[in-house]
Each structure stands twice: as structure tokens, then as C-alpha cells.
Symmetry: C2
Subunit: 460 residues, 2 copies
């Protein structure tokens, strides 16, 4: 097909923001496994989930048959402040690599939260407000999700309580201040404000916290305060649903120019970005309409897909959250402290896990020094300083483009550039100073995590 001249950035107009989210599960023959009650090991129903989550979000979480779900106007109005996000043709990167490949990326970093997380944060805040709630609680690690949620809550006038992993709270004071500027109440975790926090502090007095522990505290506060619910920025089906705006916009933009990607690449921590980016393309693949190669990229130091087990597991280390069936390293697995590059969650979206298990998607694990090398190369030619998370996708996109250079193939590569690295300069500094190292867990390291997998009937 002869191509129209493609601009550096393809911007859609405001009225091309999707009016409906696309629910990928509707087109999956093998549905993702349901969330289980950790006590009874039985699927959780709407009522049980409603204790922790907002009503409408529970409905979305459980709905695996409706293909399109309307985006409320209030959410679309907020989307208009930073969406449609640009789809960028990486002309400068292609030139620098000398590749015949055509590289595109969907850039989600042009908003104050600095990432795609805002797409789901605003939706979750909206439904909380609609339900008449007073506020929401959540956890945040590096702070992208917490920032996004703070912005969303400020917009709808909701109270926002964020438990921030203590080491990040202390080492990333700037993220904390952005959240405070948006009016959020930010507590370092573990804290003495929850019984789980106090228990953890008693057992491990000097602990600097973990994401799993912060989740446990946020859930406790949500369930013990009337008018509060817990919200989560990744892993869940509802989050992937909201993030489908990424893929829908990308597809609309590419279709305009008659471009069909051959390879679609995204970084994967809990799966929110990858699930959103690939959604409409994967839908076509599942329905047998078109074929694409999908590649999930994860850190070699936290390799859920490539070295994890497909099993029911806790989403939190406090083991109070529902059990999800997913590729997991065990809820007790914590990546080495030298791991700077985000994507440190032990598990993975159930939806993506099922798709990977069924062979619709590949996965690659990459080491962090090579990720930062890709980040730097990209920043210098494309002018965007990428988040470490996003740079995992850049690494593999560059690798694929270099393969094309060898073979002469003119593949079209699309990857998700989830965010910017402005708050990750400590990691960049390590890389700039040449003191960044890599870490690959041994099989024995992984065995420790697997030993903590819960005993669920019918599972090894």
C-alpha cells in the first residue's frame, strides 16, 4: 500500500478520543481466571469485591463479555486536557539506527503525572465520586500512580490517601511534593497508622517498605473507614479496560495513514500499559482478522512472564488481597536493591497472563544497563527523556529495528512510550556515572518466592 507522507507526530482531534473503552476479555475464548477469596478459595462476587472496590469498577472487573463500555462524558472531558496523546513516527531514531524498519511510538508522558496511569486514575476517581464516596486510598512505589490519582482526586474533589513505599518517600521527595501539591495525604509505608503497618514495623523495625506492604495498608484504611474504597493502578481487568484508550487512539491514528504494525512492543510490570496498547490489535488477532507479533518486555531482575509460574497468588505481601491467577514470582519475591528500573511487581495482569499462556504473545527479559543505554540513545535523538519503565520497550524496539537492518526487512514497529523520566534522575545518574549494575536472580532466588505460593485446590 502506498503511504501518505507521515508527519512526525500524528495528533487526532478531540472528537477522535474514543467514546468507548474496549474490553479485550470479550473476545478471549479462554477468559482470565476469576479473583478468589484467599480464605475460601472461591470466586469473589460483586458484593464481596464491593467492600474493597467501587461498585461500578467491580462491575467492570467482572464483565468479561461486553466488548465496548461507554466512557462517561466527565471522563472524556478530563481526557481532553491531555489526550489524544501523540503517535510519533521515530524518524530521528530510524535514521540514527540506519534501519529500514519504520518505528512508531505512542507517547503517554505529556501530562503532569508523567505517564499513562492518569487514564485509569481519572476513571476510578470518577466512579468513586459518582458512588458518593468521600475518598480513596492507594499505594504507590515510584510515585507515578500516586501522582496520577492525586490529580484525578483534586479534579473531582475527592480525598486521596496514598501509602508510599518508605524508601521512595524518602528518596523521591519530589514525587511526594507533586502529590501534596494536588492535595493528597501521603504517608510513608509501613506506618503506625494501620494495624498491619504496626505489625510489620514490630517484626522488621528498620524496614524501608515494599509495594505489597503499602497495598495492605491502603486496603486496611479503605475497608475500615466509611466512605472510602481502595483503588489500584495496574494488574486488574478494569485498569486494562481504561487503558485501552491508548491502543484505540494508536490504531485510529495508524489506520488514517494505512499503516499496519507488524510488531507491537510494550513494557510490562503489572500490565496496565501493555494491556491497553495491544487491546484493539489483540482483539483483531483473537477474532482471526489480522495477525500481529506482540512482545511484552520485563526486567531480567523481575521476570514474571519469562521465569514465573502461571498460578494463583496474592497480589500483596500482606496476603489480605484477593488471589489472582497470573504469571508470578511469588508475593514474597522482591527484586534486588540494585534494580532501578521500575516494573518490580511480582505478578502480572490475569488477562495478559492468560493470553501469554495461550501463545498469543511473546515475552522478553532485558537487563537494566542495556535498558538505560537504549534510554540515552533514544533521548538524544528523539528529544524525550524516557522513564526507565518505558525504556524496556525502547530496548526491544531498537533490537528489533537492528535485526531489520541485518535482514533488510522493512518491518513496522509500534511501541508504547509510557512516560517520562524526570523523577528518575537518581537512576540516570548511576548510569551516567558508570556505576549501574545488572542483576539476574538465580533459580534458587526464584524458588524462595515460589515456596510462598498459596495452596489453591487444583493448582500444583
Amino acid at each position: 500500500m502506498s503511504e501518505k507522507k507521515i508527519p512526525y507526530k500524528i495528533y487526532l482531534s478531540e472528537n477522535e478520543i474514543p467514546e468507548k473503552w474496549y474490553n479485550l476479555r470479550a473476545d478471549m475464548k479462554n477468559k482470565p481466571a476469576p479473583l478468589l477469596d484467599p480464605g475460601t478459595c472461591k470466586p469473589l462476587n460483586a458484593e464481596q469485591l464491593g467492600v474493597v472496590f467501587c461498585e461500578e469498577l467491580v462491575a467492570q472487573e467482572l464483565d468479561d463479555t461486553t466488548p465496548y463500555i461507554e466512557i462517561p462524558e466527565e471522563i472524556r472531558d478530563f481526557y481532553k486536557m491531555y489526550r489524544p496523546s501523540p503517535l510519533v513516527r521515530a524518524y530521528c531514531l530510524e535514521k540514527a539506527l540506519g534501519t529500514p524498519a519504520k518505528i512508531y511510538y505512542k507517547f503517554e508522558g505529556n501530562n503532569t503525572s508523567g505517564s499513562h496511569k492518569l487514564n485509569s486514575a481519572i476513571a476510578q476517581a470518577y466512579y468513586a465520586k459518582k458512588q458518593g464516596l468521600k475518598g480513596v486510598t492507594t499505594e504507590t512505589g515510584a510515585g507515578q500512580w500516586g501522582t496520577a490519582l492525586s490529580m484525578a482526586c483534586a479534579y473531582f474533589g475527592l480525598d486521596c490517601k496514598v501509602f508510599m513505599v518508605k524508601v521512595s518517600y524518602e528518596q523521591k521527595p519530589f514525587r511526594r511534593e507533586v502529590m501534596r501539591t494536588y492535595g493528597a495525604d501521603v504517608t510513608p509505608s509501613p506506618s503506625t497508622t494501620t494495624s498491619i503497618g504496626r505489625k510489620i514495623l514490630e517484626a522488621h523495625p528498620g524496614t524501608t517498605g515494599s509495594l505489597g506492604c503499602a497495598i495492605s495498608e491502603a486496603v486496611e484504611v479503605a475497608t475500615s473507614n466509611p466512605g472510602y474504597r481502595y483503588v489500584l493502578g495496574s494488574v486488574l481487568n478494569q485498569v486494562l479496560l481504561h487503558q485501552s484508550v491508548i491502543g484505540l487512539e494508536a490504531k485510529t491514528a495508524l489506520d488514517k495513514y494505512g499503516v499496519k504494525p507488524d510488531v507491537i512492543i510494550g513494557c510490562a510490570g503489572g500490565g496496565s500499559n501493555l494491556g491497553g496498547l495491544i487491546a484493539p490489535f489483540m482483539g483483531e488477532k483473537l477474532r482471526g482478522e489480522k495477525d500481529y507479533q506482540f512482545i511484552a518486555v520485563e526486567p531480567a531482575s523481575c521476570p514474571s512472564f519469562t521465569r514465573g509460574k502461571f498460578a494463583y497468588d496474592f497480589c500483596d505481601t500482606g496476603m489480605i488481597c484477593p488471589l489472582a491467577k497470573m504469571y508470578t514470582l511469588g508475593s514474597g519475591f522482591i527484586p534486588s536493591a540494585n534494580h532501578a528500573g521500575g516494573l518490580r511487581f511480582h505478578g502480572m495482569s490475569s488477562t495478559l497472563s492468560q493470553l501469554y499462556h495461550d501463545g498469543f504473545m511473546e515475552a522478553r527479559a532485558v537487563e537494566q544497563t542495556s535498558v538505560f543505554a537504549a534510554a540515552e540513545q533514544f533521548a538524544r535523538v528523539e528529544g524525550i527523556l524516557p522513564a526507565p519503565e518505558s525504556s524496556h520497550a525502547i530496548r526491544v524496539a531498537i533490537d528489533e529495528a537492528l535485526k531489520c537492518k541485518e535482514t533488510g526487512e522493512e518491518k513496522t514497529i509500534l511501541f508504547g512510550l509510557t512516560g517520562t523520566g524526570y523523577f528518575d534522575m537518581v537512576a540516570y545518574e548511576k548510569y551516567n556515572d558508570g556505576v549501574m549494575s545488572d542483576y539476574i536472580p538465580t533459580d534458587e532466588d526464584l524458588e524462595v518466592g515460589f515456596r510462598g505460593l498459596p495452596a489453591v485446590p487444583g493448582q500444583d
Copy 2:
């Protein structure tokens, strides 16, 4: 005129990026006064300026008659990576204020340098490369200009030496790391690498540096190393010329919807943003075609326009740079240490100074706590965390909109949102903690600065 429905963001297409910069001086009856040699007090010619600056930039600096100057294709290609920048209708802010005013802002923060500085940095790097130079030197305070120049130099493969005010180098390590990621050589100023730096360190052993001192060091390195020139991010005519893309794009976008602003507001430190934003509108005013109200906003702690003298002065504290005629507080004036909000240059663009002197423009000085209050209010409803500098313009835009609320006038307000505040969270933290204070220099404080004004024949 009946208005078309105006979207939240007006994006122009790539081919609407201006093909020519607009040189406001061509339409000025009273031209800005020429730069003088500090030794002889005679106007500097191209040859003399060429020792410090790139040839083509000198030509632009001296040209006050050509109204339009072609933007080379290489620069336009780079612009395509982050331009056209969005013109945003601040619907959410209008609603929050309950004002009948219509507020627009031109947002220049959607690039990794985080500000409009990149518009001139890429032009200056291009001309340096074209001249066959090896590299350029510059100074940076808060780091926006240094970051922009690093990005531009990385793109064209030029060496980039940045002298960063020592206190910023130490307190803003993240900015420094962004520059290093783009391959720049960043030196804390004053340093022992220059004779001026050594002299200053000898006289003031514990000094944390100043912008004027960093300028002196950068100029010394440029003039003592073959193949290097000095570049500057503000104040100069050439910079205002490059920044005219801001105003040209804004005007094109507004014209599309038949919108004519009544009031145009910009923050002013050296004048780069304000001069660029107002350029085409001021041109119409100077030619008698249309009328606009222009408001320059400066910090009350560094009030060049509102309390300075219109006189020839040094641009640097080392007193080695040319003399410029401008509104100035004296090159020895340094704002109080409690001043967090940028815009701390003692002088002002000669072009803007002349326009202000001739009554084409107003100026207002605002205090920093009120600036941060405006910043927070804006961030919460518009979703963008503004730079402290930009927030000066927000403050006055809100003030003007609130006046409209009282009078019922439906004024159209346009302001320049120059950048984002991601690297200014220390200042935000002070504000969040309620420990930010204001500073207004006394007349005696100002007298000290005025005493340092050079003796130029014909000037008091």
C-alpha cells in the same frame, strides 16, 4: 463574531509551524539601542561580536530591519518533534474562577527541556554547527536553558560546556543529570577551570555562585578555545527572534477560530518568552492595525521593569560582556536568597525595554507566595504543574479574570505557560509546608545595584 466551538486544545498541523521567524524590531520606530563595547562605549560591529557569538547569530542580532527571517529546514525538522505546541482553552480554570473571561494559554512545556528555551537552543546550535564550530559554551541557573542547549547540541553532535551556578548544581542534581544524559559537560560555577572563576573564588572563597559569574566563565572559555562560541538563552534580540514561533503559532491558532485576545500576559526574566509570545500581536499594534493590552509580569523581588532604571548596563557581574540598554537593577543586584521563583536576572531584553519605555506595554510585579497559590490552583484544575516562572503569568491572568468577574466583562485573556515545574519541587515543598516568605527590596537595596551602573557618555 460568532465563535466556532473551541476545543480544549488547539493543535496546528506540522505544516503550520511557521516557516519564518518574525523580527519585531523591523516594525519599531524607536529601535532598541545597540550593544556597546564596555571599554570604548562604542557600538559593537559584527566582527567584534563574532569573537563571542556565532556569525549568523550576530547577523540576526544586528538586523533590525528585515521583518521575516527564514527558519532553516533542519531547525523546522527539529521543531516537528515537539511543535506546534498546544494552545489551550482553560475551560476548567474559567469554571473554577466563575469568570466570564475567556482564558487561553500557549503551553511550551511539552518537551524534555521543560520550557520554551528549546526554540532558541536548537536555532543557536544549528548555526554553530553550520559555521563548522566544535562546540558552544553557556551558563545556566535553574537549568532550563542548559537542558535545552544540551538537547540541541546532542541532536547536532556539538560539544556543549555548561557553567551551572554552584548552588543550583548542588541543589538541583536532577537537572544536572538530564544535561549529562544529553552528553553535556557541566561545571559548577565559579570553578577553577577559568581565570575569572579562580579570581572570584580567591575573593569570595565560600561563594555559591551567581548567574552573572557563570556567564563570565562561559564567555572566557568560548573566547579562549578555538572552535567555540558563547550562546545565551534570553535577553538578546536573536533569542526573541527565535521565540517568535510561540506568538506566531498562537496567533495562527486563534485566527482559525476568529478569536482576538484583549490582554496578553507573559512572565519576564530576560524577556525571551514574553518577547516571543507578543511578537506578532505587538507588530500589529506598532503598525496601528489592532490594539492589545500587554502585561509583563515580574517578581516583586527582582523588579527590573517596575523599579529599575532604563540605562546601559553590563549583562554579567564579571563585567566582561557588552553593555546593553535596558531596564536594569544594576549588574550587582542579586535577589534575596528566599526568592525561589526564577526570573532573577537583573536586566531585561533591550527590545522589550524600549517598547515598555515607549508605552506599548505594561508591567506588574507579584510576590512569590501569591505566585505559588496561583500555581497550585492552576495545577489542580488544569492538570499541568507549572514552572514557578510561568506561574507569574498565571497569577496575573487569574487576577485579570477575577476583575472580569466583578465587572462582568467577557475579556479574552492569552498568557504564556512557558514550562513545567517538575524540577522545582523544593520550592513547591516550601509552599506546601507554609514556610515560603516574600521579599520586596527596599529603595536602599536597589540603590546599591544602581550605584554599579557603568558610566556611559550621555547617560545619567
